[in-house]
């Protein structure tokens, strides 16, 4: 056996060496007392670059955006106590969307743990329910293997964030360092291959289907299976819908794509979900925003095949007939191979029905409005960027409109907080996206309420010269809150109007960026073209949009998937 060469290093050096070994390019972070030695080691090398944010939430969202828009693992580094609590929203956001990420947190020295020391908090305890795994490393000898485990766990199986909590004295203690090449854990062995018998059953159902439907979620994006999905959908001729998290997995401009489904999904996608006879669900989890009321969904008989890496996602809200646990690309390979041996049914009648639903044109809106319609801005954004931008979003109406109107043809282009629904996600996520994709066009679609939740990161954008384009749909309301209040709370707009908004143009200028106010529909396209022509500048586009516009279709909370409210235009 070859002897692995070792060297004596301190804990801080080990952290940096591990990051280098993992090929980490960027660490998003904010220094503080407990991580001073780690920052000192960062300073002494130039392989791992540090991105200094303005608030720890921004660091984690940036690492998250970096991860979502690339095939790499996002890394954040924060100090103990408030550094950690500020990071919590970011960690929970990544957890809900299964984003691979490693968060390194400083901790007070081991001898001070539990004594209510300055900037102490129970990091492992606080983050436990919002991480895939977390560890407190009390001995420097365990540090390298903890780091290796963290990256391994974060990126394999159903991905997720892993927190490594490192007390300050562990960063100064020394030991022999060697980075484990591989790690094997008896308690953690994610499956890859799907069960052959189950796959045969699934294929049989697909071959017999008269009204088939393919419904896919974030899992297809995360497992890089969109190529195989496309092959499956196109070789069978089946209709396909994507969840909010799954947009881009199947090309939105293709005619077999029915648009997004769910609470604000298209009429045709939701109708097809309810009326299909065989449903193939891939890397999706039938959540409340997707199928609405499960009892209503269960009214129609259909056979459900569910492919997912996480057994706990299967039969959680909806009973399925053929569960297949496995890594999506591996399972799809087998499905495709088996499908070739048979012939699918003639589904022309089904397509005819779908086209009738599609003819409702459920996303239409008033194109002659004198006030800027948010949908119009997004359509123009799509045209001006030729559908090839990375789009991050915050949370609310603008997020839904972006999902409906920007036709994503590629995976990892649509970056949003789907599970946790975190306002403030968009801008810092865009920083991570731009870092991962230098030279690419990155736009953050946001609203005047969301953008103010992580606004401080405009300063980070300046420091790192990130030419993000901010598309602010400014309707002076928390639009989605206002919409619910209009529909379900008798037009009582309780605290959803924001008085005393800043002058966003001056604000952008104050941070050293360019700001533009647009309040006429005729100026929208020109302003977007002008902004996107500025390749080296962040431009903050403040669009003054229609205050009364609502997102349609809408399935009210607790209602069935076909119980949609459609636009008054219909």
């Amino acid at each position: 056996m070859d002897r692995i060469k070792t060297t004596t290093l301190n804990g801080a050096e080990i952290v940096i060496r591990c990051l280098q070994e993992e090929g980490v390019e960027f660490v998003f972070g904010y220094p503080g007392g407990a991580v001073l030695y780690i920052y000192d080691e960062l300073f002494k090398q130039d392989k791992v670059k540090h991105v200094l944010v303005r608030h720890e939430q921004g660091a984690v969202h940036a690492a998250d955006g970096y991860s979502r828009s690339s095939l790499k693992t996002g890394v954040a580094l924060v100090t103990s106590g408030p550094g950690v609590t500020n990071a919590v929203t970011g960690i929970a956001t990544a957890y809900m969307d299964s984003i691979p990420m490693v968060v390194i947190t400083g901790q007070v020295p081991t001898h001070a743990i539990g004594l209510d020391a300055f900037q102490e908090c129970d990091t492992v305890g606080i983050t436990r329910p919002i991480v895939k795994h977390n560890m407190l490393v009390k001995d420097v000898k365990d540090l390298a293997s903890a780091m290796k485990k963290a990256f391994h766990i974060a990126t394999t199986g159903r991905p997720g964030p892993v927190v490594v909590d490192i007390p300050k004295d562990v960063t100064t203690a020394t030991c022999e360092f060697s980075y484990p090449e591989e790690i094997s854990m008896r308690s953690y062995q994610p499956v890859r291959k799907g069960h052959a018998g189950q796959i045969k059953k699934a294929v049989q159902l697909l071959l017999e289907a008269k009204r088939p439907m393919v419904y896919t979620g974030g899992g297809v994006v995360l497992s890089n299976a969109s190529g195989k999905l496309k092959e499956l959908v196109q070789s069978t001729g089946f209709p396909c819908t994507n969840t909010l998290m799954g947009l881009g997995a199947y090309p939105a401009t293709d005619k077999q794509f029915l648009g997004m489904l769910g609470m604000h999904g298209t009429y045709e996608a939701n109708m097809a979900m309810q009326h299909c006879d065989v449903l193939l669900a891939i890397g999706a989890r039938f959540d409340d925003r997707v199928i609405g009321n499960p009892a209503h969904f269960a009214q129609n008989p259909r056979k459900i095949i569910h492919i997912d890496i996480d057994p706990s996602s299967i039969s959680k809200r909806v009973k399925v007939d053929v569960p297949i646990v496995g890594n999506i690309p591996d399972v799809l390979d087998e499905v495709l191979r088996n499908l070739k041996e048979g012939k699918t049914q003639d589904i022309k009648a089904w397509w005819k029905q779908i086209e009738d639903w599609r003819a409702k044109d459920c996303l239409k809106y008033d194109r002659n409005s004198k006030i800027i319609k948010p949908q119009f801005v997004l359509e123009k954004l799509y045209e001006v960027t030729k559908g090839d931008a990375f789009i991050t979003s915050d949370v609310g109406q603008h997020q839904m409109w972006a999902a409906q109107f920007y036709k994503f043809d590629k995976p990892r282009r649509w970056i949003n907080s789907g599970g946790l629904g975190t306002m403030g996600f968009g801008l810092p996520a865009a920083m991570g996206v731009q870092m991962a994709n230098p030279g690419a066009t990155v736009a953050c679609v946001t609203g005047e309420s969301s953008i103010q939740m992580c606004l401080q990161e405009l300063s980070t954008c300046k420091q790192y010269r990130l030419p993000i384009k901010i598309v602010n749909l400014n309707n002076r309301y928390m639009g989605m809150v206002r919409q619910w209040q209009q529909f379900f709370h008798g037009n009582r707009y309780s605290e959803s109007y924001m008085d005393a908004l800043p002058d966003f143009v001056k604000l952008a200028e104050g941070y050293g960026h360019r700001g533009v106010l647009i309040d006429k529909p005729a100026d929208v396209e020109g302003a977007l073209k002008e902004a996107f022509s500025k390749k080296n500048e962040l431009v903050f586009l403040d669009f003054i949009t229609d205050q009364a516009e609502n997102v349609y279709p809408m399935i009210p909370g607790g209602k069935g998937i076909t119980e949609m409210i459609l636009s008054e235009e219909l």
């Binding site: 492992v124 305890g125 436990r128 329910p129 895939k132 795994h133 407190l136 766990i153 854990m185 008896r186 308690s187 953690y188 996480d310 057994p311 706990s312 039969s315 959680k316």
Partner: protein, 164 residues
Amino acid sequence: MSRHIISVLVENEAGALSRIAGLFSARGYNIESLTVAPTEDASMSRMTIVTTGSEDVVEQITKQLNKLIEIVKVIDLSEAEHIERELMLIKVRAGLKEREDMKRMADIFRGRIIDVSDNTYTIELTGDGAKLDAFIKSLDQGTIIETVRTGASGIGRGNRVLRV
């Protein structure tokens, strides 16, 4: 709703217990009892969790437990033949006039008196939960001073084993 007894092998690491307890509270699952102690392999602990829930909920419980990184194996013992035992220590009043009766009751239930004072007995009793309940019920309630129960431990019958 039915009662399930779930056995878990878990890495003997700090925080594993709170991760499991946290999972139950976060997802609103019931815990009737939970016992844990190291196994013959000191790197692993075995846990017995008694819970109640519908079949769907119990399926989710086992799946969610399996997802925890430190958990090595999970089985629902109640899916097949199994044995469960619980230990109770019960301190009862045993003055001159109760002493004989109390001794007889302990014998009937195959309990053992493990501590004696002028006016008390401490009885050790093993059995399934129902037997311990029956013993408590059969005593004059006024004579019970203190009880402590371990919660159930369970094991599969015959060749049904839970090991790595």
